[in-house]
C-alpha cells in the first residue's frame, strides 16, 4: 500500500510542481515514478486501511487496480509524446489527472471514490476547455451542472447508506451482505449508482459526454475516452462489489450499449462519433462488471484494450482534423495522410473485434466469461459497432505520407502486442469458430450499415434541461429498480 500511495503522491506533487514550470519534464518524471511504484507493488497487495482505523480510507491493489495502472501510465506516456509541443499548464494538468486516476482505481471507500471522481472530472473539463473555444466551454458548463446534480444525488445516497450501515468501506459492506429490500438502503444504493453513472457518462445519465469529449483538444480526447470515463465504470464496479446490484448494472449496460450505438450510427462529426462510441463501449464493461467472476476479468481486459485503441483512434482523428480543418467524416475522406490512415485503420480493425488485434482478444475473454444469453447481447453490440465504424472505410485511402506517427506508434504497438498476448493466453481464441464469429459479426455489421445509411432519423437532441430531467428520472428508475429487484 505504501509504495502505491507514495507513487500517487509523487505523481500529484510533480503535477503541482509542473504548474510552476518545466511541465513536460515533470510529467516524464511522474511516469517514471509511477512505473517504479507499479513494479514495486506489481503482484498486488491486500486491503489496508490508509490513515488507520476507525475512520481511514481502505485501499487495495487488486487485479483491477493493477490493470488500470498499467493502462494509465501507458496512455499517459503516449499522449505526452504525441502532444510534446504543448507548453503551459497542459502537461501539468494532464499529470494531475492521471495521478488522480491512479488514486481512484485502488480506492475502496464510497466517499473517497466520490472525491477522486470529482477531481478527475474537474481536471478533465479544464483540459477539454483548454483552447478556450465557446463550444467546448458550453459543453464543460453543461457537464459541471450535471455533475453537480450527480454529486447531490450521490451525497443523499451516501447519507442513506451510511445512516443504515454505519460504514463507508466497500469490503466491510460486502461482508455484512446488506439486504436491499430495506427501502432506506435500496434508495441509497440507487442514488449512489445514479451519481456514479453521471460521472461515468452512461446513456441517459452522462449526455454531457459526447460534446465535451468531441470538442476537446486531440490528446485530451484520447485520455478522456481512453481512461477517465472508465473511472465512473470503476466506481460502479466497486458498488457492485459492495451491494448485490449485478442485474441492475447489466440492464444499465445494455441500455448504454445500444443507446450509444443508436447515436453513433448516424453521427457525422468524427470526434463526436467516437465519443458516442465510447458511451456504447461502456456497456460492455458494465455487463461484465455486473455479471462478475470471469466476466469481470474480461471487462477489465476490455477496459484496457479499449483504452488503447480508442486512444489511438482519437489521436488519429484529431491529427487528421488539425491537418484538414474540417470535422465531418465525408469531408475528411481522401485527404488524410498515411500515418493517420494507418492509425484509423488499426484502431477500427481492433474496435470491431477482428483478430489478431486487442479488441478480438478482449472481447473473446469477455464472451468466455458470460452466460449464453449475454453472449447474444455482446454479439449484437459487436455488429452495431461494426456497422457504425463502416462509415470510416472511405477515410482509409491515404493522400500522402507527410507527418509522423507520434504517440500513435506507441499505441499501435500496444494494440498489436495486447492482441497477440491474448491469443497466446486464451486457448479458446485460436479456433476457427472464434475467428469465424468475429468475421461474421463484422460482415453483418457492414450489411447493416449498407441498409441503414440511407435513413437520416431525427434523434432527439439532448439539451441541458432534458439531460437534467433524464438524470433525475434515471435516478428514480435506478432507486425503484434496486428496491423492486
Amino acid at each position: 500500500m505504501n509504495v502505491a500511495l507514495t507513487g500517487v503522491l509523487t505523481y500529484l506533487a510533480l503535477g503541482v510542481v509542473g504548474l510552476l514550470g518545466r511541465g513536460r519534464l515533470c510529467a516524464a518524471l511522474a511516469i517514471l515514478a509511477g512505473l517504479a511504484a507499479l513494479a514495486a507493488w506489481a503482484p498486488g497487495f491486500p486491503e489496508r486501511v490508509m490513515g488507520g482505523l476507525p475512520w481511514g480510507v481502505p485501499v487495495a491493489g487488486d487485479t483491477l487496480a493493477l490493470a488500470f495502472w498499467a493502462l494509465i501510465l501507458f496512455v499517459h506516456a503516449a499522449v505526452l509524446w504525441h502532444e510534446r509541443h504543448r507548453t503551459g499548464a497542459f502537461h501539468p494538468l494532464l499529470t494531475l489527472l492521471m495521478g488522480t486516476c491512479l488514486g481512484t482505481v485502488f480506492s475502496r471507500d464510497l466517499f473517497n471514490l466520490y472525491v477522486a471522481l470529482e477531481l478527475a472530472s474537474l481536471l478533465s473539463f479544464l483540459l477539454a476547455g483548454y483552447e478556450g473555444k465557446a463550444r467546448a466551454v458550453w459543453a464543460s458548463l453543461q457537464y459541471l451542472v450535471l455533475a453537480t446534480v450527480g454529486m447531490t444525488l450521490y451525497l443523499f445516497g451516501l447519507g442513506l447508506v451510511y445512516g443504515k450501515l454505519g460504514t463507508l468501506s466497500i469490503s466491510e459492506i460486502a461482508v455484512r451482505s446488506p439486504d436491499l429490500s430495506d427501502p432506506a438502503l435500496a434508495v441509497g444504493v440507487g442514488l449512489l449508482l445514479a451519481g456514479a453513472a453521471v460521472k461515468g457518462g452512461l446513456f441517459l445519465f452522462g449526455l454531457w459526454l459526447p460534446p465535451a469529449h468531441g470538442y476537446a483538444p486531440t490528446g485530451v480526447s484520447a485520455v478522456l475516452s481512453g481512461v477517465v470515463v472508465k473511472m465512473g465504470a470503476v466506481a460502479l464496479a466497486r458498488l457492485s462489489e459492495a451491494f448485490p446490484v449485478g442485474p441492475v448494472l447489466v440492464a444499465l449496460g445494455i441500455l448504454t450499449g445500444f443507446g450509444g450505438l443508436l447515436y453513433a450510427l448516424w453521427e457525422q462529426d468524427i470526434k463526436v462519433f467516437l465519443a458516442f462510441h465510447t458511451v456504447s463501449q461502456l456497456g460492455y464493461l458494465l455487463i461484465g462488471f455486473g455479471l462478475g467472476g470471469p466476466a469481470a476479468l474480461g471487462a477489465i481486459l476490455y477496459a484496457v484494450a479499449h483504452g488503447l485503441f480508442k486512444g489511438l483512434l482519437f489521436l488519429a482523428a484529431g491529427t487528421g482534423i488539425e491537418g484538414m480543418g474540417v470535422r465531418s467524416i465525408p469531408a475528411l475522406a481522401g485527404h488524410l495522410s498515411l500515418p493517420v490512415v494507418l492509425g484509423l485503420g488499426v484502431g477500427t480493425w481492433a474496435i470491431v473485434g477482428l483478430p489478431p488485434l486487442a479488441g478480438f482478444a478482449a472481447k473473446g475473454a469477455l464472451a468466455a466469461g458470460v452466460p449464453s444469453a449475454a453472449k447474444w447481447v455482446l454479439f449484437a453490440l459487436g455488429v452495431g459497432t461494426a456497422a457504425s465504424f463502416s462509415k470510416l472505410i472511405p477515410l482509409l485511402r491515404p493522400a500522402g505520407r507527410q507527418g509522423g506517427l507520434g504517440g500513435m506508434g506507441l499505441l499501435m504497438g500496444a494494440v498489436v502486442g495486447f492482441g497477440l498476448w491474448g491469443l497466446a493466453e486464451f486457448s479458446g481464441l485460436m479456433t476457427p469458430g472464434a475467428w469465424g464469429e468475429a468475421f461474421l459479426g463484422a460482415g453483418a455489421g457492414y450489411v447493416l450499415y449498407l441498409a441503414v445509411r440511407r435513413f437520416h432519423p431525427r434523434l432527439p437532441r439532448f439539451t441541458l434541461d432534458r439531460a437534467a430531467v433524464a438524470t433525475l428520472l434515471g435516478a428514480v428508475g435506478l432507486a425503484l429498480g434496486v428496491l423492486l429487484a
Binding site: 451542472v145 453537480t148 454529486m151 443523499f156
Partner: protein, 115 residues
C-alpha cells in the same frame, strides 16, 4: 425530533433546488438552484450524524453522547468541493456571456456562429 426535522429540511431543499434547476432558463438561476440542492444534501448528511441531545464531537466540550464525527468531516470536504465547482461554473458563465452575449440556456444551445 431535531434530526428528523433537519433531514426533512434537507430533502425539501433538495427538491426545491432541483425544481429550480430544471425549470429556470437562466444559467445563473440554475446554479442557484443547484446551490440550494447541494446544501440540502449536505444538511442531510449532518442530520444523519446527529443524535438526540448530542454534543459536538470535541473532547471536553459538554457531556453525554456525541454526534457522529465522520459525516461531519465528509461534509466539510463536500462544501469546499461544491464551492470550487461553483466558482468554475460561474467563470464559464462569464466567459459565455462575453462570447455569446446571453445566459439563456435555449439561446446557448443553438449552434454558435464561430466554428
Amino acid at each position: 425530533m431535531e434530526g428528523i426535522a433537519a433531514a426533512a429540511l434537507g430533502i425539501a431543499l433538495g427538491g426545491s433546488g432541483l425544481w429550480t434547476l430544471v425549470r429556470r432558463r437562466n444559467v445563473i438561476w440554475k446554479l442557484l438552484g443547484l446551490n440550494v440542492a447541494a446544501g440540502g444534501a449536505i444538511l442531510f448528511l449532518v442530520a444523519v450524524a446527529h443524535r438526540p441531545g448530542a454534543r459536538p464531537a470535541i473532547e471536553g466540550l459538554g457531556s453525554g453522547p456525541a454526534a457522529d464525527p465522520l459525516p461531519q468531516a465528509l461534509v466539510l470536504t463536500a462544501i469546499v468541493i461544491h464551492f470550487a465547482t461553483l466558482a468554475l461554473a460561474l467563470v464559464y458563465v462569464i466567459f459565455l456571456t462575453e462570447h455569446r452575449h446571453t445566459q439563456d440556456v435555449h439561446k446557448l444551445e443553438r449552434e454558435p456562429e464561430e466554428p
